[in-house]
Structure formats: C-alpha cells, structure tokens
Symmetry: C2
Subunit: 245 residues, 2 copies
C-alpha cells in the first residue's frame, strides 16, 4: 500500500469543520485537479458553482434535510452536469445541438462524478475533509432557481470542503469478493456476503453511537430502495431539457 | 502541488500496454480502493466484472469500435451499476424493491463513477496506465449477454489497466475559469474561453499528430452533440429494468 492508496482508504465523510478558511487558490487547485479526470469524448460537461452567499447556503442546507455543514463548511460547491456549453460549442461550429439524448445525459453525469471524485482526492491530499450532498436533489428545482441554472444544466450533488473538526471511524464496505466477479455475473454467495457485512456494519454503528443505533445494511437498503425515492426527479430533468430519449 | 495532486494532473489515457501482467492481488487492491469512495446512502451499487476470457475481450474490443487495447491490456474490468444487490438486501429485510426510479438509477450510476475514479487513481499510483471504454455502450445488450448481467444491472463503462508502452502528452482542458463560477451560472465569457481552448487543443493535436489532425473543441462538440448518440440506450435501459420514472 503506497501513500496514495493509503489516502484513498482513509476516506470518511466529514460533517464538522473548523473555522479555518478554504482559500480561493485552494478551490481553484481542487477544481482544476478535478478537470484532469478522464472525460467522455472530451465533452468536459462539468460546471462547478461555488456558493458564497450565506442565504443560498442556508437554503440548500435546509432543503437538503437540515444539513448544517452546508452552511458551515469552509467552502461549498455545487457540481452540475452541463450540456449547454457543448451545445453552444456545437453551434459555434455550425451544428445544431441534438437535445434530450439519454446517452448525452449519461456522459455528462458520469463526467461530473469522475471530476468531482478527483477533486475530492485532491482536497483530502491537502488535509481537507469532504462531504457529498446528494440531498440537494430533494428539491433540485429550487437549487436550479437559486443558482440560476439554465436548461441543459442540472445540479448533480453538492460538496462541502473544510478542515475537519472531527475524526470519525472509517465506515466498513461490502467485502471485495461481493463486488468483484470473474467473467460473468454471479450472486451465489450473496447471503454469506450480506451476513458478513451486516455484522461488520452493525459493529461499526454500535461503536460509533455507543450502542444506540442498531442498523444492518439490509435494513438500510430496505429504507432506500423499498420505497419511491425522489419521484420528482424524472419530471425535473425533463423540464430542464434532459428528455431521456 | 503535492505528490497526489501531481499524480492526478499527470493523467492521460494509455492505449498501448507492455506484456507485463497485472496480478490478481493488484486488481483486488485497485477495486477495494474503489470501494472506499463515497457512496450515496451506503448503497454501494457497484459490481466489477473482470473479463479474462479472450473471446469475450475480443468481442467487446470489436463492438467498442475496434479498440484493440481492450484485448491487449494487462486487465480489463467492466464497471456495472447494480441495484439487484440492493433489491435482494431489501427483500432480506422484508421489503419490496421499488423498481424503476430515476433517482435510484442516478445514485447507482454516480456510485459506479466515483468508485471507478478512485480505482483509477489507485492504479495510476501503482504505475499502471488506464483507459476508460465508454464504447461498450455501442452495444450494451451484447455486453449484458456476454457477461450474463441480470435485470437491474447495466454496464456503465469498461476499464483497461496495464503497464504503459507509450508516453503520450497530457491533453489540455478548458480553463478553470470556464467551469468554476461564483454563486450563479454565467456564460458571459464563453466565446473567449472557446477561442482560448480551441487554440490550445489545436496546438496539442498538431504536436501529437505531426500536423495531420486539425481539430478544434467546437468541432469535436459538433460531432458529439450535433447528432443523435447511441439512440438505443433508452430502450436498452428500459429493458434492463431501469424505467426512469
């Protein structure tokens, strides 16, 4: 294990930050490290909006379900999938933007995630802690309005950056044997993997919460995929120009 | 700039590999480094299929548009978005998997990209070169058949890993000023950014190809978004159980 892999393996979300500022230079360095990630057909469909306005950050913190760290972090970035820029570039070259393709939506969304994860690694290498904020998809229309996002742009997730004021344990993951397969899909050993992971995750929650939170992964998945989740997303994306055809 | 950021900024896709093998231990280390990335609500919707079969690799190389490096790389991984596992976990906890939500599709796809990018950084830190293969979405139904992917699982992209047998230049990106905005979306300076990037990218292509390839970013975007792209994707995803409702 080299220092980079050690850094990757030491990741945990940070939700309490010191007052120490994250400088403009640091944010530029982090975002430009993000840009160096691979990008599908060089589309670079990424726009990052740094939110400085306290009012906007408070609104997003609230609509994300009361995530105070959106307000308190040293910096808060909203990562957007942006096909408007590609469309404008296409027009400059005399073409006409073919809107609404599922494939274009996919490459833009994947581009954003690859770039953001690179940026996260850069931030963590600088001693910062991070927390992704998927919760802004609770009300993406409101976020779109606050940040004045045009059509063909949508907010994928937020990202808090700051100096950690907590040192939480690393959350265990599914066994690598549960996710790495050879030549073909198989889930034959799945129950064994579930048992193993339920036990390890249960232990983690017990240690972390002093025994008050008793939750297993299978329960977490029931909560997550055992009901409708953000049923507004399809309509929101459609309205924003991502027709998924 | 620290060594990690230096590593991130030295990325370029590698498409020629030496014969040196990538070991099973390395692949496990790389995939498990991938697993440490953030995951939405702990869903861990990632399955990685390492393809060892030459016949399967040749088929994917061909359907991806003749990408020989899929066959030749030290290792070839297909990164899949997997909600079947979460659905099974949900059932174990007595729930019923609510299929077809756009939001679940999104979190699974984003999870895969975050994990893959972490894995890529781990691989590059070990001295390996990588190349993402989005081209397997040229015929995702065939890839699904080859890898026996069940419903609620789809192949997002492939990933070649191996020891580099080439040392290409780093491809320039859009200026950080073109992608990083403050508080609200703006594209006022867009034409300036396009001019700047067209020039830098044109220079890169000229240097790399000895003057034979003359292409600008705006032309590339016309080719990419100025026409339909993989129009089969919507139908494929629908059939695979991702209804996008």
């Amino acid at each position: 294990m080299n220092p980079t892999i050690e850094l990757l393996k030491s990741h945990r979300s940070i939700r309490k930050f010191t007052d120490q500022a994250v400088s403009t230079e640091q944010v530029r360095e982090i975002v430009s490290a993000g840009q160096t990630a691979a990008t599908s057909s060089n589309v670079q469909a990424v726009t990052v909006i740094q939110v400085n306005s306290s009012a906007t950050r408070d609104s997003i913190a609230e609509l994300a379900g009361g995530q105070a760290w959106v307000s308190n972090a040293g910096a808060f970035l909203v990562w957007c999938a942006d096909l408007k820029r590609s469309g404008a570039a296409c027009a400059r070259a005399g073409g006409e933007f073919e809107q609404g393709m599922t494939e274009h939506f996919l490459i833009a969304t994947i581009d954003v995630a690859l770039a953001a994860q690179n940026a996260v690694i850069a931030a963590e290498s600088l001693g910062l802690g991070i927390c992704y904020i998927g919760g802004l998809r609770n009300n993406p229309a409101k976020v779109t309005e606050l940040l004045q996002l045009p059509e063909q742009v949508y907010p994928v997730f937020g990202l808090c950056l700051g100096y950690p004021a907590q040192d939480p344990e690393i959350k265990p993951r599914l066994s690598v044997d549960a996710v790495l397969m050879q030549d073909a899909y198989t889930d034959e050993q799945q129950d064994t993997h579930f048992d193993d992971y339920n036990e390890r995750l249960g232990h983690y929650y017990q240690t972390r919460t002093g025994g008050t939170k008793v939750s297993q992964w299978t329960d977490e998945m029931k909560k997550l995929v055992g009901k409708e989740s953000r049923p507004h997303m399809r309509g929101f994306l459609d309205k924003q120009g991502f027709k998924m055809r």
